[in-house]
């Protein structure tokens, strides 16, 4: 098994795992980056969202072989000290309840703002399809607007 090499949060990583292993489990079990969550395993819920070359990507069905030589950013690498505008807005609006889906929500929101610095509600509806079982959607929407304003 040849090692698969890619960049995670600015650091080069080489992993020796079955190439069909989803990136999610490489991040969590091999690299110990547990901020990215497992929710469904079929790319329905978005708890496993990271940035792959800057694009929000669900990793529970993404074979690690597909990210060879690519650039992965996880919630742990989004900013230093929770300083990303989305993280600051999330704190200001006290968005999380249980918090389990929020890494994925934040990564999806950060990717949205990167392409749509001032998203409309319709943009948010389209981009933010992650599931939150605690029902924090209203605060997520408010926090995205706040982050857009304060970025």
């Amino acid at each position: 098994m040849a090692p698969i090499t890619f960049t995670v949060n600015g650091k080069r990583e080489s992993v020796n795992v079955a190439p069909d292993t989803p990136l999610l489990w490489v991040l969590r079990d091999t690299l110990g980056l547990t901020g990215t969550k497992f929710g469904c395993g079929i790319a329905q819920c978005g708890a496993c969202t990271v940035h792959l070359d800057g694009v929000a990507t669900r990793t529970c069905v993404l074979p690690v072989a597909a990210v060879a030589s690519k650039r992965v950013t996880t919630i742990e690498g989004l900013s230093q000290n929770r300083s990303h505008a989305v993280q600051r807005a999330w704190i200001e609006d006290d968005v999380p309840q249980c918090g389990y889906c929020q890494s994925g929500q934040i990564m999806a929101a950060a990717a949205l703002l990167a392409t749509h610095p001032h998203p409309t509600d319709a943009d948010i509806d389209t981009a933010m399809t992650n599931i939150c079982r605690c029902g924090t959607y209203q605060r997520i929407r408010a926090a995205i607007h706040r982050a857009a304003k304060e970025a």
Binding site: A18, G39, Q44, I91, D94, P96
Partner: protein
């Protein structure tokens, strides 16, 4: 303060403990009184919940599980208010398992029943006040002044006459030498500086950078990960299995049978899951092999034709019905529902000869300890329960199935094991919200006013599975909660219950039996209003004239929603009011129907009277969350059975509400000096009837079977 629900819950928990289900608890930390041997460099520990360090840190030990409902903030607020603490110095830690941390409403250490704040309301404030008085005494002794001339404020004691000030950290050593005062006075609400305010949650920062540790994130040296193959038919058993192919998957270390199935233990989740996929198992499908949802529906309907165990009987309903000017009859039917917490079930256990460690996102630490002692064959005091953050609870994590699996697997393979469930495991091996059938009949007089109300509930009993001692002569009084509590002024009332085992296990699901009884009561009263050709809000108002707290939230919600005011074309309103967990909630839903008949909920106005409020921002968040939880179920939620198997498996066929479907939710809190009520669950029951009543207002079609689906 203990409401009926909680008395019965405490009784059953105590009866379960007496019954010796292995649920014996271990050593005992004093709930009051200083721990012996506190040296100067150590924290002041005046009670089980508080440690004050010389460096000014104030550690609050949180003895309820944080599953999103905000206990890591609201419980420290109770203590910090009376302590006169500097809120910026508050740190939190989850409690170990210990009797000192029992939920006073349960008699065991557990989180549920929307009890956390109301159970802690007095003990945690007293704990804070006691520590405050101790620190004041320490300062007075240091300065040699009368303690009545000293005052605690924001993490320090001040002597205003001489402008001297000592922070709590500097008083730790002195305080440790003094007796803990008794009967420390509690502050008046008007003097509160922390309680009642929108204090920011302490658990938000770790939840925005990935550092919050959930059960599934636990790391332990030498840890292996297990995925379990369980019978696809509910109640089936392993006959035999062939592990050859599973063991050939790289990374698989062990394959072992446990009581719930066959565990594949590997270096990580992915190889464990691949190993499970390769397992060859012969199952005995057991008695449910041919069971279908149609069978269950038929059974419940048949049962509902028979008289049941009487839960409430006022006046003479038979005579009143016979004499009534007209009658209204309705049958309602609700499905099984899965919890679908975002974090799938998981637990890490290390079973060793010298003791057991359990790391779990659990709502029930005492139960976890009991299983640890039983399976590990060690005394309870050798079992440590490390509670992590819970990625949602909703009652699912009061169960111990996932903890038992981790314990059995670790014991079998001799190393620490984390059992992780897939989403399919989670949806298909739940303890479901009971499916049920309700028959209602009302007699109304010539003016349309109800003179008789009968409500028959045919439903499986959660208690019969969990604590059978709580079922008395066929009556599970929890199963009728909310039906028995029907608040409308009707002289003749009969509520009865038919305990019906369907073969499908049932469990506590956010607001529990109130979910179905609330839907039924608030739909049927709407039917009576329609039959009387009266406005459903005004109809309720008249019948709630002697139920002031119901009336208060009903009127507030209606006013804020603009009840009776024109709506955009195609929209209609529905209203519902319901009491559960000692809180009163009314909701008005604004609904439209798409061309395909799919309901769209645009706005929900919620009024809540939950007595005194610890943190209004958290109350608002809980109401909003409870509405989403109930609305998701009302629109689409159904677990169905075919050949004994759960037909749904993941979010593609067990649909969740998402951002684009989210209504605007407005929450209004009734100012109150009443004792605190629960907040996690009471927002759920009213939403389904509010939405269905709105659909009726628009279409004249009465929804008597959930989920709503498309209205055609």
């Amino acid at each position: 303060m203990a409401p009926r629900t909680d008395v019965t819950r405490r009784e059953f928990l105590e009866s379960a403990a007496v019954a010796g289900a292995g649920l014996v608890v271990g050593f005992h930390l004093p709930a009051s009184g200083r721990l012996p041997g506190v040296a100067a460099a150590e924290p002041l520990a005046p009670n089980a919940w508080l440690r004050i360090y010389p460096d000014e840190r104030v550690l609050v030990i949180v003895d309820r599980s944080e599953m999103g409902q905000g206990v890591t903030t609201s419980l420290p607020m109770l203590l910090a208010e009376e302590l006169e603490a500097d809120w910026s110095k508050i740190k939190i830690e989850f409690a170990p398992v210990d009797k000192a941390y029992n939920n006073p409403l349960f008699g065991m250490q557990g989180t549920g029943g929307s009890t956390s704040v109301r159970a802690a309301w007095t003990p945690l404030r007293k704990a804070g006040a006691t520590a405050r008085e101790l620190l004041v005494a320490a300062a007075a002794a240091t300065w040699r002044v009368d303690k009545a001339t000293c005052q605690a404020e924001r993490g320090a004691v001040v002597h205003s006459a001489t402008k001297r000030r000592l922070t709590y950290g500097k008083l730790v050593a002195k305080a440790a030498t003094l007796p803990v005062p008794e009967n420390a006075p509690l502050k008046e609400p008007k003097d509160w500086k922390i309680l009642g305010r929108r204090v920011k949650r302490l658990d938000t920062p770790p939840k925005v950078d990935g550092s919050a540790e959930f059960g599934i994130d636990v790391k332990v040296p030498g840890l292996l990960v297990a995925v379990i193959a369980r019978s696809p038919v509910v109640g089936g058993k392993v006959v035999k299995f062939d592990a050859t192919k599973a063991q050939a998957v790289p990374g698989v270390r062990h394959v072992t049978q446990i009581s719930s199935g066959v565990a594949v233990v590997a270096d990580g989740y992915w190889p464990a899951k691949r190993g499970r996929d390769a397992l060859e198992i012969t199952w005995d499908d057991g008695p449910n092999a041919a069971l279908t949802s149609a069978d269950i529906s038929q059974l419940l309907n048949q049962r509902a034709d028979q008289p049941g165990a009487v839960a409430r009987h006022d006046g003479d309903p038979d005579a009143a019905l016979a004499a009534a000017a007209s009658k209204v009859d309705a049958t309602y039917e609700l499905p099984f529902l899965a919890h679908a917490t975002m974090e799938p079930m998981n637990c890490t256990a290390s079973v060793r000869a010298d003791g057991v460690d359990i790391w779990a996102p659990t709502q029930f630490q005492t139960g976890a300890q009991g299983f640890g002692a039983k399976i590990g064959a060690v005394p309870p005091e050798k079992v440590k329960v490390h509670t992590t953050y819970l990625g949602g609870g909703f009652g699912r994590r009061f169960e111990l199935d996932f903890i038992q699996e981790a314990l059995e697997t670790s014991k079998a393979v001799g190393v620490p094991v984390k059992v992780v469930w897939s989403r399919e495991d989670d949806i298909q091996h739940d303890q479901y919200r009971p499916a049920c059938v309700h028959r209602l009949r009302a007699g109304v007089d010539a003016g349309g006013q109800p003179v008789a109300w009968t409500h028959r509930i045919a439903a499986p009993s959660i208690m019969a599975r969990v604590f059978p001692g709580m079922v008395k002569e066929g009556l599970d009084s929890e199963a009728t909660e909310g039906g028995v509590g029907m608040p409308y002024a009707v002289a003749n009332v009969h509520v009865d219950y038919l305990l019906t085992d369907t073969g499908i296990p049932v469990g506590f699901w956010r607001s529990v039996n109130n979910t179905f009884n609330g839907f039924v009561v608030e739909s049927f009263i709407d039917e009576l209003a329609a039959a009387a050709k009266q406005d459903p809000y005004e109809f309720r108002r008249k019948l709630l004239a002697k139920a002031p707290r119901h009336l208060g939230v009903l009127e507030l919600a209606a006013t804020k929603a603009g009840w009776g005011m024109p709506l955009p074309a195609g929209r209609s309103r529905g209203i519902a009011v319901f009491k559960s967990f000692e809180s009163y909630v009314a909701e008005v839903a604004e609904v439209s129907l798409g061309a395909d008949g799919a309901p769209r909920v645009h706005r929900v106005v919620c009024a809540v009277d939950c007595g005194q409020v610890a943190n209004p921002d958290i109350v608002e968040a809980q109401m909003g969350g409870a509405i989403v939880y109930g609305l998701t179920a009302a629109l689409w939620g159904a677990i169905t059975i075919d050949k004994g198997r759960v037909e749904q498996s993941n979010f593609h066929n067990y649909r969740m509400l998402r951002m684009a479907e989210m209504p605007v939710v407005e929450v209004h809190i009734v100012p109150s000096s009443e004792a605190p009520g629960g907040c996690g669950e009471p927002g759920t029951p009213p939403i389904a009837p509010a939405v269905c009543n709105a659909i009726f207002a628009a279409t004249g079609k009465r929804i008597r079977k959930l989920p709503i689906g498309n209205v055609t």
